[in-house]
């Protein structure tokens, strides 16, 4: 069975998830926002910087991303499999909600031209990449956000 004793604390995990998703949003915004008049080169540098922060956060707290979500069934017991199934369900709901909001926003923005909307190939490409990334990381993010601290579990019962 997969030992889970090295999970970071819940607070650390939540800050990491917030950090990762804010960096990710900044990276996408830098790459996609072509209405600012900022040259593509500068926007790319901004996106690259945000992605480097994102990568550093992922490496530092890699267990958040590894935790259960993509382990084989054989490595997990029945409780962990049940937990993983709920994470996939939670991620599916999150993904569906974000997609519904995004589609509503794009529809209103394109029709009314009240808000920014992606109009270049780079912008659409950035949004598409972000949508794909969200699908991949959502189950791990659900687990990292909701699974409580296991401090009492890491303590061995005295013999």
């Amino acid at each position: 069975m997969k030992p889970l004793t090295a999970l970071p604390s819940l607070t650390s995990r939540r800050w990491t998830i917030v950090g990762i998703w804010v960096s990710w949003a900044i990276a996408v915004a830098f790459r996609a926002h072509d209405a600012t008049g900022i040259p593509l080169l500068l926007r790319s540098i901004g996106a690259l910087t945000a992605l480097l922060v994102l990568t550093a956060l992922c490496v530092r707290n890699y267990k958040v991303g590894q935790f259960i979500a993509d382990d084989a069934d054989a490595a997990l017991d029945e409780r962990q499999i049940a937990l993983r199934n709920r994470a996939y369900l939670g991620a599916y709901r999150l993904y569906g909600g974000v997609m519904a909001l995004g589609a509503t926003y794009i529809t209103i923005a394109v029709d009314s031209k009240w808000f920014w909307y992606p109009s270049s190939r780079y912008a659409w490409q950035s949004i598409a990449e972000a949508v794909i990334l969200l699908a991949v990381v959502a189950p791990s993010a659900w687990l990292g956000w909701f699974v409580p601290d296991e401090s009492d579990e890491t303590r061995r019962v005295p013999q």
Partner: protein, 92 residues
């Protein structure tokens, strides 16, 4: 004691199932790790079982009872267990 069915702790309970796993494990001097190895589960899962935060499948419940060498109803119950001291001496 049991969390809602969708608790992220791993609870799958719709109704509380009580168990004597902590007492039985302590009687035998086993650590959670040792019991977990006997059952083929993660030792954290033993903690969830002991706290009543996860109800085992029927198959795992039988494995637990077999590990203690007891019938299923001696380990699990739908009503709270009477403390052994009360059963032995007739007082709380």
């Amino acid at each position: 004691m049991n969390p809602p069915a969708n608790s992220p702790r791993g609870g799958n309970a719709t109704a509380p199932i009580y168990n004597r796993i902590p007492v039985l494990r302590a009687e035998r001097g086993w650590s959670r790790q040792q019991l977990a190895e006997l059952l083929g589960v993660n030792y954290q899962t033993v903690g969830y079982l002991e706290r009543g935060e996860y109800n085992p499948s029927l198959e795992l419940a039988f494995r637990i009872a077999e590990a203690f060498g007891l019938p299923l109803e001696a380990v699990f119950s739908r009503t709270p267990f009477t403390p052994l001291s009360t059963q032995l001496y007739g007082r709380q």
